[in-house]
Every structure is written in structure tokens, then in C-alpha cells.
Symmetry: D2
Subunit: 352 residues, 4 copies
């Protein structure tokens, strides 16, 4: 199923080297101000080009095909497409016969009886995260207007989702070496340079914090906030794990250490001072910031030779993955992780 | 939404201290042999009574209300209910006014305007995992028949899902101390005893391995195998994280360490010898066992006094949670985690 | 799929001669007053016993299994079950081998490979309309509270859905003969008596009018009000057609006759005086009453001998359908048709 | 919700005078041969230009944006878009303030708080039936390959869906006057000419017959074949009613007249000789052709002056609908009705 959500619903389509990638977003309320410009900031954050990211430079220009009239959403399905321009399919001719280790090439071929589009991973490509981010932009607008209006508050991805660990080095360590306020690609430049020099790649952990939500969003069991966010996050290629609040560390704690007790926080307000739960109890938001971390694997495509085989003749071979790749694609991921959270929360706000 | 799945669909209903809990399972193929007896083994594995689990003993007797005729499924919706017998609601009168730290009491009350059933957590109770396990039993039957027939193979939850870490102690360490083949509750008896003596509770990590699946189940993006399993797993109360294959450790590896290269495995078969991916590439099963780990928090209800307040008068108070509770509810969780995986895979088998 | 709806969602389960029939209703808002008594009136309207209906008398006593606490809905899934008591399965032993003309016996057997429950039609039985009506009761409560609160108005099934044509005789003709305000079973007594005397059965047209709805419910295309009501209405066994407003007669009109022009209706209010559209434009409610008619076929089970064959030996035979049946089951249908409309509208109100 | 279906799923988007209209079709099996050319025949059948249809001539050229590689479907979401070219939006400036009788203008404005695109009805336009027909083309291909392969048979829309009644005149009457094999627009030319001369419009009844389906498709209750086809058919703008088999006439028959008895049809095959049920029993296909009729209202836009009012100043006015319109848009509808049936059946085949 290429669709996610109940009221605010996102469908993704397209292939890496086909004519276009895009999203249809259904259930957007009418009257939201929206134009192509609104997409540019988040698209820019996902863009390649910085050290550690692929030199494939796409224009990534959004075209709104439907759902907007005179600068406002109409409530009808909103379609955004991105034409694929800078494709060098020739790079991938080889991959039809030789599956890349760590990639979907082989299973995609098995699943489709060989009818998958093998160019750049086809529909399995990370390029689909571009319309994914575009859907996140619309979701953030919904959240800002809806929750903002109702609470005089705001929905913020606090300090923006960020990379908190890369190649085993923590953000704190990297900051100590590089200086405060450095953007992620500067912060981790030495690690990336080292891996890149060896033709290798790096993984990372991305943390996302969402503040300003009302309590009570979500449902017990199937539609718990964690269930939905995890569902959306694992839709991002390359994710290996997700944890909320204390996460895996909670399994090593006692109840008396992990429970968030209610305390007086001043002016008669009683609320937990701690947030071990990551903002969710019983599947529902509890008014604290939602905090979750996502583990990204290292980029599968590397220049180091790897063992694989030829599907046609069954012969073993070594592959130096052709094409242009990120040394650490997770550097482009924080805005995608934000989009996942925003898409889920825009839907939950609509249902509440 | 109380329903999960596309073809094989599970709905859960009931309250901890209401008349019953149950499940409606839709999309079960006709002709599967099924009777009440088939549920008993897995229900037994979830049951309380062992050290570290609550002394609340329910009969947990399943009644099939619909969907079975003369010992076989009919293809019509299958309903299983469990009457609640051993309820001591008086224990919970207090909790209407005083929310338990770490529980859904407060957010449930906010969400429902105070109309939630507060007895034992109502619909938010872990007791709902009983029909959850029952749905898992049906799903396992579907998998055994469907995949078994097609592949002459089998679907196995290898060595059963098991607790691999509790209170910071690994299974290997506990085994060294206690001896091989000990059931989980014996293995961890010393840790549990220590926590229980202090009126405290413990978390744990549960690992699940599913073997015997064909390659190609799942979809890229929204319905990736990881998305669906994570969705179902976070529906289990008390889960804080999930990871597949190398999981969070993958984020600290290089691509050359994490990629599963294709190698000759004998008799002309070429396949990865490693399983860093945990059995999934690009959202699809790749023929290797699916391996994932789930982090459970420590039981929220503890006998140690915890700070909270009275919703009626706003006064701060200390709560010693009344009622009967597990010191480590994760001891009962492996069969629930298996059910989550089985429910997802029975649906994916139907769609494939 | 045994579930219908997006937010207010209804699942049906059970078999005619199994332990029970029931419904799980999800997405009910918390705080609605509800008890078993609330179901009795509509259940009574559906009940058999009057002339023209089957003498099978069930107690039809609802039991609320979940979702209600101290007389109010909790927002958790609401389950209502009806135990089957008065079953005489022996009547149906024959039908396993000899499919009844006009029934689902044969196709149910083909679809399930012979694993369907053949007793009384099993899950295909009209007895499932009992929980269907129960879901309608909850939906009507949602509509009364929701639309009532917002508009100081009301949602009414004007004069109750009623039978406007039976066996070719119009309600006006029958009324002229029988007198005003006669209940349907008295009104049509002569026609029913005549058909029954011949061991035959009758069809009818049921009209439903819903007043008091706000304008703007529904969606263009897939979720048009007509699409959803038709979907729910054709779920009722024995329906052969549905039409809205002018219905099939609209196809024989010109635009100038069919369009509802806007006119001054007094006090500055401009609205159509006519309702040829049946209360829906472009898939959305327009503030006029929703008016639709449903064609019910004659009861399939008749005492007249009918040609059929024996599935086991392939021999032709004649069948006098055993068991107890309605001469005109449509006499029991108006409350079911109301339930269909209410279920759809309760969902649309939630989404709006 | 802009999406319909469970496995074979169709989303529609676009506005009459926006950049494009289109469809995303999910769940298409891989390996289906498909190119832009495949759409041309059905698009041609829907096209305007013949007598009785609008002179707005669009190129209606399909562009496949995703889901096809080297002439075959890949199993990934299939997107088809049609750029809007020949728009004369100026025609519609007036309609922002003056709602057209019989149109969605007013309710669309109420629903969206005035943010709907009013040009040509925006998303409510019949132009959306263009991608609807495109989705039908894909569905027909799925049916042909799937059912064809399994049964050595075929799925056929027998003699193509056709107009069997227009302006009160039956096809038989029109044929007697005009001659056999005349295309619809010639057959009804006199009626159309008369209505057009008066600036008025005509309704019609379209009949669709689907042959070659296996028995057992569909589900009892919510997903009955009739429920799903009716759902899809009422998504077509301007539909007022639908009936299956004997339809409304069944309500005037006795059971002995309406039941389809089983008879020997030769060579040991026993099957009903009649098809009063229209090919469906208990919600499931029974192997007979599915037969249903759809009532279309007369075109709402007419040149005759009609009463309406100005939304801005509340003043009454008369409207001669500007723009180019069909005298009888139902002339273009048979291929749309076929698409509705095909979309439903392609999904049911996938689930079976």
C-alpha cells in the first residue's frame, strides 16, 4: 500500500530515474496558505552537495499539480511532483545482473518477477524521500495552524531534528573538537573524510524532539503515537531502529528510575519534571515533548569491492558500486525524520 | 482505530475489569483447523503466576463466538472472547483521583473528558494482550499452512522469542550463573527477587527470530516489513524501542562491516552468510531469518512510594500503587512479541 | 472486509446458528449515555412475529461487552453481542447438499471450499442485521448529540423510514383501503395473506428520509454521501437497487425539470423549494433532507417447490425450503435502512 | 478520502481548470504490458465532440509518470496525468458569486469556507472522470490477464456498457427509428436535438454487463459486490440510482418469479437459466454475468434561465449558465460505468 494515514493521508510515487517522483496528500484542510516556495527550505535541508553527500545535484523544483487555488489549499487532494533531471542511468546498467550487497536489488527482482525498474533502485530509491519531505512541509503547516490556533502555542521541532551520533562518535565529542553551532556536515567532517578516503560509508543516530503538542493525541494499542511514528520512520530507507524517551536504556532501569513522577512545577501546575517516557503514555501524548531517536545504517553503496554474483550466469564477482553516493546519507535525514513525525501528528490532530 | 491489517485484520476490544476482553479476526482463510484448545499453549506462556509476575490468576478460557464450524474456520470473521473473572475493582477506586506515575491514567482522563474506565487501566490495560496473543495463534496457523504448503518449509519462531537482557544483565551472564535451558523466570530469579524485595520493578529486552519465510514479502516505504512489525510491536503496552538486525549498532558501523555480501554457501547456492540486515532489504523479506529486539520498560506499578497528586483538590501526595503487579511484566512478553510478528506476516502472506 | 467506516467504524460477526451475533463499534466518542435499554426500541422494530414475518422468535437481548462504563461510552471499542437461542439447526441439514435458489448457499460453498457454516445461511444470514441495527442505534445517538449540539436542530428519520410500495401496490393505495396511520404489517395484510396462502413471498420498496443535517458532509468522488449510503445499504441482504431524490425518474427528465432552483423562502432565506436531488449535490449534503429509496427483493425462501439439484450426486430435485421464513422480510427492513444511513452519517459528522 | 480499494487502489486528483488531472493506481501487479497507447480507445469513448456533447475539446493525452518500465508495469504505484489545456476560465468568473442550480458550487463553498476552486467546478468537475477512465483501463488489463489465465476464459463488458434509455425513450424504440448498430449519439440524435434547441438537457440510463467472472468474488455484508460497485458508481458525478438484475422491478415480484432456479443446461452442467439476481447472490458473484443499470440525471448546466441568487448581496437573479456543456453528458458515461465495475473487480480478483 503506497498510502499512509487516515484523514491526512500521504501517497508516494515515482522512480529514481523515471520521469518524476511525487506525492498526493489527501485530507488537507482548505484555506492553508501554500505555494511552491514553502517547500524550498526543507528541500534544501535534504539536498545533497555538502561533504559526505552525493554530488548528484537535482534541481528538486516542486510543482503543485492540484489542490491549491490562488495561494491556498482547497481541501481537494494536493499533488506535488518533482521532475527527475540529472539522471545517469548508464551507471546502473551493470546492476541489472549484479545485485548490490545491502540493497533491495535482489529482493525487488524476486518480488516482481524481474519487472522492477533497476535504474538507481527504481521505486526503492532514497529519492522518494523528496516527496516524503514535501508531504512533511504540508503536515507542519497543518500542525502550526491547528495546534497554534487552539492553544496559542506552537508545534516546534525543537532545534530541528539533529544527528546525535555518527560512526560511534557522539555529538558532544564532535562539538568539543569542532566548535558550537557547526552544521552537521562540518561537525563530522573528519570522520566523513576518513571513511570517504577508504571508499567506505558511515551510519548515524538522528534525534527528533517535537514540542507544543496537546495531551491526548493517539490511541491505545494499534494507533499509539509510537506505533504510527515508528511505522512512518521505518518507511525511510536505511533505518535499523527507533526508540522513544529512555528507549533501550529503559530496559536496564528499575521502575523507580524510569517512571516520570508528578511534581509541582510552579504556579500551581503539577507535571512531571522528567521525560523518561519520551512524551507518550499508554500510546497518547502526555503534553511533554515527544523525543525519539532513529538509527540509520551506513550507506550501502560503497567504493570498496564487495562480494556478489551475476544473476545470469551465477558466477561470483566483486562489485565496486558505480554511480554517485553519499558517504553518510544520514546527514540528509533529519528533515526526513521530522517529516515522518509531522505526517503522523497532522493526522492525529485531525482525528482528535 | 482498533483494527490492524489489510486482509488478515485484527480488532481488539475490552476492559481490564469489564465483562470481557476479546478479538475479532477478519480475513482468515476458510478450512483452517481451529478449536479452543489451540489457544491454550500460547495463553499459558503469557500467563502470570511465575516468580516476577502478578499473582492475579485469571482462568483465561477462550470462547470462540464466531467464524468456526465443526472444527474449521469458515472464512467469516472469527471472534474470541475471554470473560474477566478475578477482578478486584476496589483496589482501583483510589486511582480515579490519583494518577499513577508511568501509567495512562491521566492522559486517558484528559482524552475522554473523564469518561474512561479507570478500573485497572480500563481499555489501556495490559490484559488486552490476551486477545492479542489469541490473534497471534490464528496468525501462526495461517503462516504454517500457507508458507508450509508453498515451500515445503515451515515458519518457526526459532527457539521461541526470548528475553535476552534483563535489568542490565545479559542472558549469557544469567545462564552462566543459573545453568542452560532454564526458563526465563528461573534464569532471572535473583535479579527479580532483589527488585521485588525493594518493591521495585525491572525492564528487559526481548528478541524474536522468525525463520522459514519466502523472500519478497512487504512493500517499499509505508508497508515495509519493519514498518508493520514496529507498528504492531509498539501496540504492546510498555515498549520503548525496536531494532532490526544490527539495529542501533549499525549506526556505529561502516558500510563494509554492515553490508551482507553474497557468498557461495555450497551446492551452487549463493546467499549472504551474515544477517546484519535482520532479514529485510528495502522493506522486503530477503529469505534470511527476520531478527528484531524489543525494549520493554520496567513495570510502572511499584510498591515504592511515588510522587503524584490528587486531581480533585490538586494536593500533592505519595502513592504506593495498590493491586497485584508483575515485578517484570516482560517475562510474559515473548509470546506477545511473537504474536505481533505473526499477525503482520499472516497479512503479508495474504497480500503476496 | 467485515468493517465499514473511517472514524466511526462498524464490524459485524456471527452466524445464524452459532453461539452469537454481534458488532464491534469503534470510534464512538466518550461520554455518550448508553445502556442495553437504548437498543430495545429499534430491535423491536426489526423483530419478527407480525403477520408476514417469520415465527422464529429470538429474545434478541443485547449484552454490552465493552466500551461502556457507568452508563456512558468510554471512547474504547464498543462491543454488543446477542446470544442465539431459538435455533433449530435440524431444519437445515438438507441444505448442505441442496442449494436453495436465490440464496448464497452455493456461492458460499464455492468461495470457502465447502467450509462455510450452512446452518441458516451461517454468516450470510439476515440475522446479522440484528447487530447492524444495534450499530445504527449508537450512530443515531452520535448524530443526535453531535448535530443537535452544533445546530440547535436535530437529526430525524422523518416519520421513520417506511415501506412505500409492496408487491406492486403503492402505500397511497394501501392506505386508502386500510386507513391512515396503520402500521405497515396491517397496511399490507391482504397482499401478504394472499402471497402466504400460496406459499410465496413479496418484495417491497423502503423509503428513508433524514432531516436536520448540516450542509457540506461528504466528499466529492469516492466518499460521496450517495456512495457511502449505497455501500452500507447493499450490505443488507436482499437489496436490489437504491435511488436518491428523483432517482431513476431523473433520467427521464430534462435539466429544467430536475434542477433545484434557488428561491426566496421567506425572511431573507434563499434555498431550493424542491428536492429533486434528494439532499445531495456533488456528493455533499446540501441542507435539504436526504431522501432515498431501496428496492428489496421478495424473500428467497418459499414453500412453493423450486428446481435445484443435489451437490453430491448431481441429481435434479425439487425443494420446498424448510424452516421458518418471512413472507415479506422487507417489513422488518425500514429500521435496518435507517441504521445504514445513520452509520454513514455518524462517520461523516466525525470527519467534518 | 480520495482513494478507493484495498489492494488495487485508485486515487484521483486535479481540478477542471488547474494544471492537470490524474490518478495514482496502487497495487497493480508487475509485468502487465502497458503504454500510453493503451489508454486511447477508452479515452476516445469518453471524449466530447459528438452531437449532444460539449464542444470543449481537450487533447486528453495521458502521460505515465511512474510505475512503468520498458513497457511493463513494475508493481510500484502507477501515476497517469493529463495536462489541462483548453480552459477558458473567464467563463466562470461569474459563478464565484452566483451558484448554479443543480451544481456543487454552493455546497463546495460552504464546505471549504470559500476556498474551493470555482473554475469549472474545480475538483468537483466531471473532468475527473478522465483519470477515472484511465484507472479503468488498467483494471481491465488486470482482469483480462488474471481471470483469463486462471479460467481460459475472459472478462468482457458485453457489447460494451450502453445507453438503454434516454429522455424516456427506450433503446428499442430509438433503434426502430434509426436502425441497428447506430452509435449512441446517432441513435438519440432527434431527442438530443430537440432538447438542445430549447437550451435544455437530458438524462439517461446506462446498462453494464460483465461476463466471464469466476464465482465467489466479493464478501457478505460490507464488501458485497453490489456495495462496492454502487460505491464506485455513485462516485461518478450525476448518478441518481443503481439497480442490479431485476432491480426495482424485483420489489414488485413474488419469490417464485424472482428466484433463479437451478436447471440442467446440457452436458451435465446445472446452472440457473435466468439471471434475475444480476449475477450476485449473498454479495458474491455466482458465475452469471453481472448486470446493473445506472440512472444519470440530465446535465445541470443549461442555457435556459434559472432562478438563483448572488452570494455577496443576497439578491435574486436569473442565470443562463455560461461555458460549453453537454446536452446529455450520459452519452459519454458508458465507458466510465465500465471503469467503475472494472476497478472494483480488479480489486476483488486480487483479494480472492
Amino acid at each position: 500500500m503506497n498510502t499512509f494515514g487516515r484523514i491526512f493521508r500521504v501517497s508516494l510515487f515515482g522512480e529514481s530515474h523515471g520521469p518524476a517522483v511525487g506525492a498526493v496528500i489527501d485530507g488537507v484542510e482548505p484555506g492553508l496558505s501554500l505555494s511552491e516556495k514553502d517547500f524550498l527550505e526543507d528541500i534544501g535541508r535534504r539536498k545533497s552537495g555538502a561533504p559526505g553527500t552525493t554530488p548528484r545535484l537535482e534541481e528538486d523544483a516542486p510543482e503543485i499539480l492540484s489542490g491549491v487555488f490562488e495561494g491556498h489549499t482547497t481541501g481537494a487532494p494536493l499533488t506535488v511532483v518533482f521532475r527527475n533531471g540529472n539522471t545517469r542511468s548508464g551507471d546502473y546498467a551493470l546492476l541489472r545482473d549484479v545485485p548490490r550487497p545491502g540493497h533491495a536489488d535482489l529482493v525487488a527482482s524476486i518480488k516482481t518477477g524481474g519487472f522492477n525498474d533497476p535504474r538507481g533502485g527504481g521505486h526503492f530509491s532514497g529519492r522518494l524521500t523528496l516527496p516524503y519531505v514535501a508531504a512533511g512541509v504540508v503536515a507542519k503547516k497543518v500542525l502550526a495552524e491547528t495546534v497554534g490556533m487552539e492553544t496559542d502555542g506552537h508545534v516546534a521541532f525543537t532545534d530541528r531534528a539533529q544527528i546525535i551520533e555518527l560512526g560511534g562518535l557522539s555529538r558532544a565529542e564532535a562539538l568539543a573538537r569542532t566548535g558550537a553551532d557547526a552544521p552537521d556536515h562540518e561537525l563530522w567532517a573528519p570522520e566523513i573524510g576518513a571513511a570517504s578516503a577508504e571508499g567506505d560509508s558511515l551510519g548515524a543516530v538522528v534525534e527528533c524532539v517535537v514540542d507544543g503538542l496537546p495531551a491526548g493525541l493517539g490511541e491505545p494499542f494499534w494507533d499509539s503515537v509510537e506505533s504510527l511514528i515508528a511505522h512512518a520512520v521505518f518507511a525511510i530507507p536505511g533505518v535499523r531502529g527507533i526508540e522513544f524517551g529512555d528507549g533501550f536504556a529503559a530496559s536496564r532501569k528499575r521502575g523507580s528510575e524510569h517512571n516520570d513522577c508528578f511534581e509541582e512545577t510552579g504556579h500551581g501546575i503539577v507535571a512531571p519534571r522528567t521525560n523518561h517516557a519520551g512524551g507518550v503514555n499508554g500510546g497518547l501524548t502526555n503534553g511533554n515533548p515527544i523525543v525519539f531517536r532513529v538509527a540509520f545504517k551506513p550507506t550501502s553503496s560503497i567504493r570498496k569491492p564487495q562480494k556478489t554474483y551475476n544473476l545470469t550466469d551465477g558466477e561470483m564477482t566483486e562489485l565496486i558500486t558505480p554511480g554517485r553516493h553519499d558517504t553518510c546519507f544520514a546527514l540528509r535525514a533529519p528533515v526526513i525524520v521530522e517529516a515522518a513525525a509531522a505526517i503522523v501528528l497532522a493526522d492525529l490532530i485531525d482525528i482528535a
